[in-house]
């Protein structure tokens, strides 16, 4: 074989290998694209709710998705195909986390809605009576009563915001605001000389 023939053969072999690689690549592109589209849709479907109930887990899922999208951009289709099942499992785990967090917060919210309105009513009843008194009880100044009245207004506003958050399916905010009302109520009851229910002490 002459050197020229050898060069020609090598060139043909190289071209053939490139063609095989190209064909293989082309074969993988469609399934990689489909897998990526499917997992992207799965991530998108939980993004809103996960941003409320599991923001850190969501960030990890979004990072993994970005990694797969970058691999796809680099034509690393096999890597994408291999990575999608793992990300799909991560999305399923995220859904589980959301569910358990929602259940946990739902229990807290139920306790708040069952107990807090009665507490606020009791405070309002006492504040309304004290506002009618010609003289305040020993140890209570008009400033303390004014502060309790303000506290009651703040509690009512915070409870309204908590209820609005719950109605918007954001139990994280609802419970956080409800807990604020709880601690405000304990403070106001103490300043009015009222017995604080044990649930407010937690």
């Amino acid at each position: 074989m002459t050197l020229n023939t050898l060069r020609k053969s090598a060139w043909i072999a190289c071209l053939a290998a490139t063609l095989v690689l190209f064909a293989a690549c082309k074969d993988l592109k469609t399934p990689a694209q489909q897998a990526l589209d499917s997992v992207t849709a799965a991530v998108n479907s939980v993004t809103d709710v996960a941003s409320i109930y599991a923001p850190q887990d969501l960030a990890a899922v979004q990072n993994a998705l970005t990694g797969l999208q970058q691999s796809f951009g680099l034509k690393e289709y096999q890597k994408v195909i291999d990575g999608v099942p793992q990300l799909t499992a991560q999305v399923e785990a995220l859904k589980g986390t959301i569910q358990s967090r929602k259940a946990e917060l739902g229990t807290s919210w139920s306790a708040l809605t069952a107990g807090l309105p009665g507490v606020v009513d009791a405070i309002k009843g006492r504040v309304d009576i004290l506002a009618q008194a010609k003289k305040l009880p020993a140890g209570m100044t008009p400033e303390m009563l004014a502060s309790a009245q303000q506290g009651l207004a703040d509690m009512t506003a915070a409870w309204g915001a908590a209820t609005a958050a719950a109605n918007a399916d954001n139990l994280v905010d609802a419970v956080a605001k409800g807990d604020q009302v709880k601690s405000m109520a304990a403070q106001v009851m103490t300043s009015l000389g009222m017995q604080v229910p044990p649930a407010l002490a937690n």
């Binding site: 306790a111 069952a114 107990g115 807090l116 009665g118 507490v119 009513d121 009791a122 405070i123 009843g125 006492r126 009576i129 004290l130 009618q132 008194a133 010609k134 003289k135 305040l136 009880p137 020993a138 209570m140 009851m189 000389g193 009222m194 017995q195 229910p197 044990p198 649930a199 407010l200």
Partner: protein, 67 residues
């Protein structure tokens, strides 16, 4: 408060304020202690209509709601 249709608060959340009547107490004195103004005794009487028939008749050991 004495409305039988009012649901009971969950355990630990009951904010009802109670006072046990002492010897020598009157509703006026109790109102003066809690509200600073004895003339508001009617508030206590109204909150305890289920156990008090007469605002002048209270007994030591009786437990009264203080609204």
């Amino acid at each position: 408060m004495s409305d039988p249709n009012t649901p009971l608060p969950p355990e630990g959340w009951d904010a009802t304020q109670w006072y046990e009547v002492q010897r020598g107490d009157s509703l006026w004195k109790i109102a003066q202690h809690f509200y600073g103004d004895g003339s508001l005794y009617t508030k206590i009487f109204e909150a305890n209509r289920d156990v008090l028939k007469n605002p002048d008749l209270i007994h030591p050991g009786q437990k009264l709601r203080i609204p």
